[in-house]
């Protein structure tokens, strides 16, 4: 039924560009994000971001300012409301202000770009959003990341790595980052910038310094291409997924940075052997995948892990849970296997 947001029918359920863009812009700590629309749009998103922050033990509170369009603004135009909001936010002297429009501002035809182009005394960055009229959640993420990179320029690279497009609303966002950091450290590399995850506005200009950009996943490829064109930085298209994928990730990053992957790969193979030993009790277990929401990547990882541990994927075994996104690195697979063991032994 297409009035229910079932995973089997996703054409209309992609969420709001505004939420996607805010998941990026509110992660610039010393900025303010103005939502040009009714107050309710700001509350919905602030409440969501606040909840995620609580769940992830984040210390900072996102700053979302509503231009607060009312019925009169919708009839006569909302640009004056946006000007009031910008004046108020500019008076607080943030490092920058992001302006994100909503579907209602788009429908009434407010010229957001013109208002943002006025002199406000602080950088004002208009992020193309427009609620559902601008696409879906992922478009908001991509637009915000591209808008934020537009003020950066090529600088000599220093052998570091950028992390691009982390899923800031993801429950495991920090754990996934730690896993990638662990693998980079094994290669003797360190992170230049988390673009964008809890950084300050002043850090953004160093974006061009890294030798390689590691994208969160394939959905961020347009940003990878944008940065390649703008800063000439190559990219690895995804965080590591799967056992073999983790080894391949080490090799790809090492190649891009001109370092040897051999010692790190040897060490990681040993880590994966330990994993197999730790979960050897699952050998022979019969498992069933969830009936909905399982991607091709999920199936690939599950198949690989099941083979490695001598488990059987059947139609009558224990239904095992999967992370919302494929597990990242060997560490992600370990956490997934703990959840599987709990279900298999339940």
């Amino acid at each position: 039924m297409s009035s229910s947001p079932l995973p089997s029918n996703t054409s209309r359920f992609g969420g709001c560009t505004l939420t996607g863009a805010l998941s990026v812009t509110t992660s610039v700590r010393d900025s303010i994000s103005i939502v040009h629309g009714p107050k309710g749009c700001s509350h919905h998103n602030f409440s969501l971001l606040h909840t995620i922050a609580l769940e992830n033990d984040a210390l900072s509170i996102p700053s979302v300012h509503a231009s607060g369009l009312l019925e009169g603004d919708i009839i006569f135009g909302g640009e004056a409301a946006l000007e009031r909001a910008l004046a108020e936010c500019a008076s607080l002297r943030p490092k920058c202000i992001f302006v994100l429009s909503t579907c209602i501002a788009e429908t009434i035809g407010d010229d957001v770009g013109a208002v943002c182009g006025m002199d406000w005394g602080v950088p004002v960055i208009a992020v193309p959003t427009a609620g559902f009229l601008g696409g879906v959640f992922q478009n908001g993420v991509l637009n915000a990341l591209c808008a934020l990179s537009d003020g950066t320029y090529p600088v000599p690279s220093d052998g570091t790595v950028n992390i691009i497009g982390e899923k800031n609303l993801e429950y495991e966002v920090e754990e996934n980052y730690r896993e990638v950091s662990r693998l980079l450290s094994a290669l003797g590399l360190h992170v230049n910038l988390r673009f964008i995850h809890q950084i300050s506005y002043d850090e953004i200009p160093v974006l061009g310094r890294a030798s390689v950009n590691v994208l969160r996943d394939e959905d961020i490829a347009p940003v990878g291409d944008h940065l390649k064109a703008r800063l000439d930085t190559p990219y690895v298209e995804s965080f590591p997924v799967g056992l073999a994928g983790t080894i391949r990730f080490l090799e790809l990053v090492a190649d891009a940075c001109g370092v040897s992957s051999h010692p790190a790969v040897q060490d990681e193979r040993a880590v994966q052997e330990d994993l197999r030993a730790d979960f050897s009790d699952l050998a022979g277990a019969r498992i069933v995948l969830p009936s909905l929401g399982v991607s091709a990547i999920d199936r690939g990882v599950v198949g690989e892990v099941a083979t490695a541990l001598d488990m059987k994927i059947t139609s009558d075994g224990s239904c095992v849970p999967l992370p919302l996104s494929p597990p990242i690195g060997t560490g992600g697979i370990r956490r997934m296997l703990h959840r599987w063991r709990r279900m298999i032994h339940a």
Partner: protein
Amino acid sequence: MPECTNPLWPCAMTGAAACLAGFDGITVIIHGSSGCYYYPATLLHAPLRGTFIVEEDVIFGSEQRLLEVVGEVSSSSQRIAVVTTCVPAILGEDIRAILAAHDIIFIDSPGFSGDFEQGYRSALLALKPLIDPGVKGINIDGASLFDPFSRGNILELSRLLANAGVAVATVYSMDTRAKVWQASPFTITTNEDIASGVGTKIGSTLGLDELKTTFEKIVTVVKEAHIDPVIKEIEQEEERINHACDKYLRRFDPPRAAIFSWSSYAVFAAKSLATYLDAEIACVSTRTAPPQAIPYPVQQADGLPQVQALIEAHEPDLVIGSSFERSVITTAAFVGLTPPLRGRVRLTSRPIAGITGTLCFMEEVLNACMDRK
């Protein structure tokens, strides 16, 4: 001013959805985009439907899409309610006319039209509740899927009314659909901010004094009611509260409290703290329209910076509020009273209304204050 930073309260569309989705037998369709749908769907934990309109529906009109979704849902025995969001509300389509061939409750309650309680009231009004003079018992109102205490409030008041030999008539708005039109002529309330206005209001159930007064009035309209067990329980439990608070005051100073909540809950909290703990009520800040004539400094706050400013100005050692308030306090004790209450596991149905409601509230206050010491 309508603009504010980090707004703390949901919009009218969410209020309308919260009201309608509380009635078993009504299927709520949010006529708007998936972004507008997801917030009430996750907040209310109710099986809402959506039209999930996309750009082409705005360009070519949303009629076909709306009728498609109505057609899908019509196959069930549920009554359908359609709630509009901002963009469909200004497209100029005559949604009433589009839906004219269907028996549908239509609520024009876009987000820009106001706050949660305005949408809630519009939805309840559209349901056209009816009083049946033949229905025995008392209605309970002020319940909402948005309020984490509502389920506990209903259970508690059902218990107290049963102890008094009084039936529960209709619960607004968490009941079966049929009961919307079978209300008793008399109503007690758990939350004045979203009172139904159905029937003659007998009184509030927030606070033991108010509860006692309300039950003493119930006996005047429900002749067969025997309220002695309830009055006796109120007196016994109030004695327990007095004892616990007196013991607290033997060792500690009364708290200096800042309260942030619905208007009616805020007044309840202020009165309870002042009565039982001789607390200083440094400020009362309401999400909804502030109450008339209460002996505490009171103002309405829309955004988190206002809340932060009040907390910094008054330096309370006890803050009553939502998880928004909890995230900005540093050393003060905290008790959750106001939605949303995120970041904590809540499995039980705790009330705020009734006898157990006051017990739960004061218990949390005392424990939070002692933990802080």
